[in-house]
Point group: C2
Chain length 371, copies 2
């Protein structure tokens, strides 16, 4: 069995990109096929194309859309490493950034003007993401030269505009009905805002956690001491946002938690942010979460709007441990696009070899010892 | 710039395999080209084909030999991760295992009989490695089904026979002229054997370290307490083997250190072994080091021969932390072949994309922040 794929960097992730019909010709269940191609189950993924980390064990499956208003439909797959599983439950913002570039490189969308727009739909979430790739003189430059924090080498700049992202999961930008709410956790009252845009996020005030809002460098240590409390807040928020019936039933991935504080007089950023990922401080910011923060910053009464002024704004600059990340908002064709810029690049065009019949993988893992 | 490569698993490593003339057409210095292709310098190698670990940041460069007695010449490259460097100083036994399979898959060597022999020369060391790939009925099976410890999935079995490996580095199997020597370190006398075959190795007796030879599970802890002493022994051995002028000048990689002890009455193994790698206990055994131990076990007077009987033997079973590893020895055409069996498989056939001119990489790393 041989399967064509492009290996692409999208933002700070590496993604294997498959065309839907190439996978369909294998007539194999993707929940079995993808882990085997990636070399899972194996903490080192030594016999497959996976990179043995969460940011390098990702796949994007895409095809041209039959909807005339959409160019490309794409599905994101987080491929398990130590388990032969696939998580289809959410989208990855970084991997999203390869889709528009793929469409141009394959001739699915012809470059036009100095920037080419590609309308994509993520099937995991239903979210439309309008991608903008600079094509000066109506062509993709031969040598990409755009830089972004966290990536040493240049790529093609890709703007990711989430179209009308409010309420994609819950039906409403403010699922509790209020711009802020009081929650009780560990004997304290917490003022939070619950916002659904890009992803559901519960936003907590840094000062409520006793953090020195202006001394951002002290936040990680302060947050790590209060992870249990933040998890209780997150689970209560899950119920109030309609994502879970009880706190105990809240799933791990949503809502996300963001902690925000006013920066000291700082010309470089508008707000200090620390987001949690899988219960720990995130080194930067999930792209989907940054969309929620961008809308919250423009919404009167939210704990973030109180810091930023709660006015419509073209850009929002968020300080994260990895540096300042800028998001943007714009009206286009009667819709609101909220987004970030990434870079992307095709690393390799590949034919993946898979000689044995799928189904033998499970036997293999039983038959062989591992380090 | 587009460069063809096969991505192959050899043993417990992943290797990118390039044909010499494909790299030569790039007219680019390999010390710059390989790190850029792999995504270095970057601890995550996120913009390249490297896997961000030492066992997945490896390349093999090969071509058909003009020497009628050799089928394939190959060079091993350990590609730096956090530094844009290449180490050409040694061979990798695991990556060696892809060379014979590559030659068969590309038609450089036609399968003949139930096992096909491919004579390869490693240019880093000058070592001839005769590779044996089972080809039942004169063909490579479509579905590989050989297993090995440390790899979950099957591959093609590859026997790696190091031809006449004695003295490849120093000119002599016993470079000090004796089968055993006394060294002083930390106020104690140590009985060691210094052996050069596959790689230079100094062999230390487990009982000299106070280890319970029969209780192998206690070795790691005992060895870790004496790493400083072992490093002093290693550096003295480097001088006595002619590898360094003074102990201070001994390089990190050679000689390797192996600790050996007689197993308790154990039908599964002939000797308990712990090898050090970069100053720490190795989870298994470097293939090159296992060649030296195999010859030492057959040499009267060595500290290993005292355990195994110092007689010619077809196989030697070495207990390592990862399990028992078997080496073999055989006479063939007047030469001695000493070796191990691995498995190998082609994971993907790729065209690597490298759009920017090489030379911009260094500037890139200065221009961009990293996580």
């Amino acid at each position: 069995m041989k399967i064509q794929a492009e290996w692409m960097r999208g933002g700070t992730s590496k993604c294997w990109v498959f065309e839907t019909d190439h996978l369909e010709t294998t007539a194999t269940n993707l929940d079995e096929l993808l882990p085997r191609m990636f070399g899972s189950p194996d903490s080192r993924q030594i016999d497959g194309v996976g990179g043995a980390t969460s940011t390098t064990s990702k796949a994007v499956i895409l095809h041209r859309s039959s909807d005339p208003e959409v160019d490309v439909e794409f599905t994101f797959a987080q491929v398990g490493i130590e388990e032969a599983t696939v998580d289809w439950g959410s989208n990855c913002g970084n991997c999203s950034a390869v889709v528009g570039l793929y469409a141009i490189e394959k001739g699915w969308v012809l470059p036009s003007g100095d920037a080419t727009l590609i309308t994509t739909r993520n099937t995991n979430t239903g979210q439309i993401i309008v991608q903008r790739v600079p094509t000066p003189g109506g062509a993709l430059p031969i040598v990409p030269d755009a830089h972004m924090p966290g990536v040493v080498f240049p790529g093609y700049k890709v703007g990711l505009g989430f179209r009308d992202p409010a309420g994609m999961t819950t039906g409403s930008l403010l699922p509790s009905g209020a711009a802020n709410d009081l929650l009780d956790a560990d004997g304290t009252q917490w003022t939070v805002s619950m916002v659904d845009a890009g992803a559901p996020v519960v936003i907590v005030r840094a000062e409520d956690l006793g953090l020195d809002t202006a001394r951002y460098e002290t936040w990680v240590d302060g947050v790590e001491l209060q992870l249990d409390t933040l998890e209780k807040i997150r689970r209560q928020a899950a119920v109030l946002m309609g994502l879970a019936a009880t706190p105990a039933e809240a799933v791990r991935a949503i809502p996300k938690v963001a902690i925000v504080g006013a920066p000291a007089a700082d010309p470089e950023c508008d707000v200090n942010v620390m987001m949690l990922s899988m219960g720990k401080p995130h080194p930067a910011l999930a792209i989907t979460g940054s969309i929620a923060l961008t809308l919250a910053a423009q919404t009167p009464g939210t704990v973030l709007g109180d810091i930023t002024g709660a006015m419509p704004r073209a850009t929002l600059r968020l300080r994260t441990p990895a540096g300042v990340i800028e998001t943007w908002s714009e009206e286009r064709d009667g819709s609101l696009l909220v987004g970030v810029d990434r870079t992307a690049r095709t690393i390799a065009s590949s034919t993946i070899h898979l000689p044995e019949a799928i189904g033998s993988a499970a036997e293999a893992s039983l038959a062989s010892a591992s380090y």
